[in-house]
C-alpha cells in the first residue's frame, strides 16, 4: 500500500527551474550588488580598474572579509561577537608588547597571542551558554573590557599608547612573509592577506556545506532545541564558533601588525559593526540559521570597493559615512528584492 501524500501536493502549481536553485542561494543578492558597484566605479573612475587600483580595494576588502566570514559563521550559528574588532587590537598589542618590551621570541609571541585570543573566545562562549544571556550583551561587555585593557595595559607597560620599533624586532621579516608580504600577479601587487581571505572563504564554505560541523552550525542557529534533541553537540559547536571568530581576530591582528609594523591601543574599535554589516549584506539573517561564507566575503568586497571607490572618485570625503549608509541600505534592498523574486522568504 502506498498512500501518496506527496502526490496531492504535486498538483499545486510550482516552478522548479534550475536557475531558481541558483537564485535561491543566500549570496545572490550580494553578487548582484557587488557587480553593480564594480561596474559603477570601473566606469566612473580612472584608477579603479588599474592593477594598482584593483590590488588596493582587494586588500581593503580582504581585511574586512576575513573577519566577516568568521562573523558570518557565528551569525549563522545564531550568535553575535561585538568583541571581534577589539580582538584584532588585543592580539596585535600582545605581540607588540612582548616582543618590543620583553624581548620574547616573535614566534612564541604569535602563539601566545593566539592562545589568549582563543581563551577569550572560549570565555565568551562559556558565559553565553551558561547564563543564557544574549551574546549581544555578553560580547558587548567583552568589547568594553578588551578596549579598556588594550589601552590601560599598553600604556602601563610601554608608557605610550602605540607600539614602536616593531620593525626592528628580530625575526620580524621572517614573519612578515606570512602576514605582511606581497607578490606580483598579473601586474598587480597582491598582498598576502588577499590569499588568506580567499583561502578562508573557501575553507568556510567547504565546512559549512560539506562537513558535519557545518551542518550543525546551520542547525544550532536555526533551531537550538531541535538540534539538541537530535544529538547535535550544541555547546561544542558554539564554542568552536566563538573560538573561530577570536582566531580570525588574531589573524587580522597579525596581518595589520606585520603590514604597518605598528599597532595602537584603539585598533579595531568600531570595526565590529562593519563585519556584521558585511555578513548581512552577504545574505546572513540576523536571527541565525541562514547565510553563507561567500556572501559575507562578497559583502566585504562591496564594502572594500565602496570605501576605496569613493577615494578614487575623489568625492568629498566628509560624505563618506553617508555614502556607506546609502550603500548599505541599497545592498540589503537589492538582496531582499532578489530573494523575493526567487520566492525565498527573508
Amino acid at each position: 500500500m502506498t498512500v501518496a501524500v506527496g502526490a496531492e501536493i504535486d498538483e499545486r502549481p510550482t516552478r522548479a527551474h534550475p536557475l531558481l536553485t541558483v537564485l535561491r542561494r543566500p549570496e545572490v543578492g550580494a553578487l548582484v550588488a557587488a557587480v553593480a558597484i564594480f561596474l559603477f566605479f570601473s566606469l566612473s573612475t580612472q584608477a579603479f580598474l588599474t592593477p594598482a587600483g584593483i590590488s588596493t580595494w582587494l586588500y581593503s576588502a580582504s581585511l574586512f572579509g576575513i573577519m566577516a566570514v568568521a562573523v558570518a559563521l557565528l551569525m549563522i550559528g545564531g550568535e553575535f561577537d561585538l568583541s571581534a574588532g577589539a580582538m584584532t587590537g588585543t592580539t596585535g598589542l600582545i605581540v607588540g608588547v612582548v616582543t618590543t618590551q620583553w624581548g620574547l621570541n616573535i614566534w612564541l609571541a604569535l602563539v601566545l597571542a593566539l592562545v589568549v585570543a582563543l581563551s577569550i573566545g572560549a570565555g565568551n562562549a562559556w558565559v553565553v551558554m551558561k547564563t543564557g544571556l544574549p551574546s549581544f550583551i555578553v560580547t558587548l561587555a567583552t568589547f568594553f573590557i578588551l578596549q579598556g585593557c588594550n589601552l590601560a595595559l599598553t600604556k602601563l607597560i610601554t608608557g605610550s599608547v602605540a607600539i614602536q620599533g616593531m620593525g626592528s624586532v628580530p625575526g620580524f621579516d621572517q614573519v612578515k612573509v606570512f602576514f605582511g608580504s606581497s607578490f606580483p600577479f598579473l601586474g598587480m601587487d597582491v598582498k598576502i592577506s588577499i590569499v588568506w581571505w580567499i583561502a578562508l572563504t573557501a575553507l568556510a564554505t567547504w565546512v559549512l556545506l560539506r562537513t558535519r560541523p557545518g551542518n550543525w552550525i546551520f542547525a544550532v542557529g536555526g533551531q537550538v532545541t531541535s538540534s539538541r534533541q537530535v544529538g547535535v553537540p550544541v555547546l561544542k559547536v558554539k564554542l568552536g564558533l566563538f573560538m573561530t571568530t577570536a582566531g580570525a581576530g588574531w589573524l587580522v591582528g597579525m596581518l595589520q601588525l606585520f603590514d604597518v609594523s605598528t599597532v595602537q591601543a584603539t585598533t579595531g574599535v568600531g570595526q565590529e559593526f562593519i563585519y556584521i554589516i558585511c555578513a548581512v549584506v552577504g545574505g546572513c539573517l540576523l536571527t541565525g540559521g541562514y547565510g553563507s561564507a561567500i556572501g559575507a566575503a562578497l559583502g566585504a568586497l562591496i564594502y572594500g570597493m565602496t570605501l576605496q571607490g569613493i577615494v578614487f572618485a575623489q568625492w568629498d570625503n566628509n560624505w563618506l559615512k553617508a555614502f556607506l549608509g546609502g550603500m548599505l541600505l541599497l545592498a540589503v534592498l537589492v538582496n531582499l528584492l532578489v530573494r523575493r523574486q526567487s520566492g525565498v522568504r527573508a
Binding site: 502506498t2 498512500v3 501524500v5 506527496g6 551542518n215 542547525a219 534533541q229 537530535v230 544529538g231
Partner: protein, 279 residues
C-alpha cells in the same frame, strides 16, 4: 463503573505476545518520577516496551506524557526511579546517548530546523561522511538519494529534497521525522502526539508507519490523545493522569470504549453529550 474489572494490577501479567517476556524489554521504567522545580510532573510510573510491540501512552493535557518520553529519550534526567535500556540501568546525560543506543524520538515539535533542506534535516546529527583525514566530507549525493529513497519507501514522493523542511505540510514533516527514526536502525521509536495536528488521511498514513515499524521488529512508544488512533495499533496502553499512572493494560484486557471511559474526563464527556444537543 467498569473500573474494578480493569484493575491495573490484575491486567499487568497479561501479554499481547506470549512468547515475549519482560526481561526482553528494550526499554523499561520502574517507578520513575520527575520534578521541575516545585512542580511534580511525573511520579511512580512503570512501563516497558519490547521489540515488535507498540506501547501507547494516553492522558490529558499536562498529564506528563511529554515528560515521560523526554526521560526515555535522554532530553531530561529523571529525578526518581530506574530506567533500564536493554536490561541495563541508565541515566542519560544527553539525547546523544539515547540515540546511540538506538532510541529514536520524534518530538511533539518534530525537532526539525525549518530553514534547512529536507535531506540535511533527515541526517542531522548522524550525517554520512566520505573520504578520510582532512578530506573527510559529507556524502551529499548519498544522503540526498537515501532521503529520497527512504521517503519513497514510506510512500512520500518529494519532488525536491533540497527544499527547506519548513515549506512541507505538517503531515509531511511528521513523516520525514518518522522515516528518519526508522532509518537510523532504531530499536525503539518514540512518537509524541504525531497525529494531533493531522487530518484523517495523514493520521492514517502515520498509523500505517507505526504498524510498519512494529512489523520490522522495532519497539514503538506512541503518545496520543485520541483513543481511536491508539487502539488499532497499540499492544499495551499506559494511562496517565496528573503525573501518575492510572493503569497499564494489554489490548486484550480493555476495549476502546472502556479506555475512553477510563481516560480522565471520559465520564464528563458522556454527560456533556446531552448538553451539546440543542436545548
Amino acid at each position: 463503573m467498569t473500573r474494578s474489572s480493569l484493575d491495573p494490577e490484575q491486567s499487568r501479567p497479561e501479554k499481547s505476545d506470549p512468547e515475549q517476556s519482560r526481561p526482553e524489554a528494550i526499554l523499561e521504567v520502574r517507578n520513575i518520577g520527575k520534578s521541575y522545580g516545585s512542580v511534580r510532573a511525573l511520579q511512580g510510573v512503570s512501563a516497558a516496551v519490547g521489540p515488535g510491540e507498540v506501547l501507547c501512552v494516553l492522558g490529558d493535557n499536562g498529564a506528563g506524557k511529554s515528560t515521560f518520553i523526554k526521560i526515555l529519550s535522554g532530553a531530561h534526567r529523571h529525578s526518581e526511579g530506574t530506567l533500564l535500556a536493554f536490561g541495563v540501568e541508565r541515566r542519560f546525560e544527553h539525547p546523544r546517548e539515547a540515540l546511540d543506543l538506538g532510541i529514536a524520538t520524534v518530538y511533539q515539535d518534530l525537532a526539525v530546523v525549518p530553514l534547512m533542506p529536507v535531506w540535511r534535516n533527515f541526517f542531522l546529527g548522524s550525517e554520512l561522511s566520505r573520504g578520510r583525514g582532512p578530506l573527510r566530507r559529507l556524502d551529499v549525493a548519498g544522503m540526498r538519494s537515501t532521503t529520497k529513497h527512504e521517503l519513497a519507501r514510506m510512500g512520500i514522493d518529494l519532488r525536491d529534497v533540497d527544499q527547506p523542511i519548513g515549506t512541507l505540510s505538517g503531515g509531511e514533516r511528521q513523516s520525514v521525522a518518522i522515516a528518519r527514526a526508522v532509518h537510523f536502525g532504531a530499536k525503539v521509536v518514540i512518537l509524541d502526539e504525531p497525529t494531533s495536528a493531522l487530518g484523517v488521511k495523514q493520521a492514517g498514513v502515520v498509523l500505517s508507519y507505526i504498524a510498519r515499524a512494529r512489523d520490522r521488529g522495532l519497539g514503538v512508544v506512541f503518545i496520543t490523545h485520541n483513543p481511536h488512533h491508539a487502539y488499532p495499533v497499540g499492544d499495551r496502553f499506559l494511562l496517565l493522569q496528573r503525573g501518575t499512572s492510572v493503569g497499564d493494560f494489554a489490548k486484550s484486557a480493555i476495549t476502546i470504549d472502556e479506555m475512553t471511559a477510563l481516560m480522565a474526563g471520559g465520564a464528563e464527556l458522556e454527560a456533556l453529550a446531552h448538553e451539546l444537543e440543542r436545548p
